[in-house]
Symmetry: C2
Subunit: 179 residues, 2 copies
């Protein structure tokens, strides 16, 4: 079994990083709590007038590097490998790749170790990558072909409108390994 | 038809960049001309005592960014797209990813344009990527599965021992589009 695992919103806590940075920025618009987030892309939950400030946060140097891990993610990946499940981290970079791309690598090295970096696949089009399962918080994954993998949604407040298999790091074994 | 195209040694002239940088470094060991290169990895053609100096060249800031394009490569990619051939740049990063990874993106943006960056796939394992053809100068592509794609070797002096379909940017139409 080969499992593809998205990075932001599944391993790295983009939401917590963004919320923290928005608070620290001192912007007058109040930070939106995670429980109130409704759109996959954080910029779509903030008003039009905030968008340059929103974009400035995640395109800044250090944003991706300093994201905290999502609770349970690191232990779950280590457990998967220990149980003989092959896995890759399959991540789409920002168009503004300058800090985002190398910092995604740095993040994996910091939290999962240098060996793990070889498991990274950076691609805008995930449908082109082979796998049995893709764990991703994005409710709508577009690409150039019909994927081999089954999409298992990683549970987040902003994707609860979407039907289909869903998991978190608290129940991954039940969802992924059920007979 | 989906064609995957390797970056270094196919689009970006790693060999010319390395040769130039080795000459400029003033190292007493003479630079090996491209025609005399025999191993896929340049470090394997230099003696053991040179290896720290060899590694220092391609892990330096700016090395990947400043590689010249291989003659004909940019025009060929533009022609492929104009003729309705879908393509992706499929590249394996150094373990020492710090400059290599973002500079591969910069290189594509500089030489092929910002839109083209969305066609990049960065992965150590190319067998996991779907495609009909992979154009690659590496004579031995290892990975976790039997690939979908057929490997067409991009002709270089260091891969002439290997049998099988082979092309250059002078004859890509004859090799790839033959009936």
């Amino acid at each position: 079994m080969l499992i593809l695992i998205d990075q932001d919103g599944v391993l790295a806590d983009f939401e917590r990083g963004f919320h923290r940075a928005w608070m620290a920025s001192g912007h007058p618009y109040p930070a939106i709590d995670l429980a109130e987030r409704r759109q996959f892309r954080v910029r779509d939950d903030y008003p039009e007038s905030c968008q340059p400030a929103v974009d400035a946060i995640y395109t800044a140097e250090g944003f991706y590097r300093d994201l905290p891990p999502i609770a349970g993610a690191i232990d779950a990946l280590r457990a998967m490998l220990a149980e003989g499940i092959d896995l890759r981290i399959c991540t789409s970079p920002l168009n503004h790749y300058r800090y985002c791309v190398p910092e995604k690598y740095q993040w994996v090295e910091q939290h999962l170790g240098r060996e793990f970096v070889a498991r990274m696949i950076v691609t805008k089009d995930k449908t082109i990558v082979h796998g049995d399962i893709l764990i991703d918080d994005n409710p709508q994954i577009h690409g150039s072909r019909t994927p081999d993998w089954q999409h298992v949604l990683f549970d987040q407040p902003y994707n609860r409108h979407r039907e289909g298999p869903r998991m978190s790091w608290a129940n991954w074994r039940d969802v992924l390994l059920k007979p």
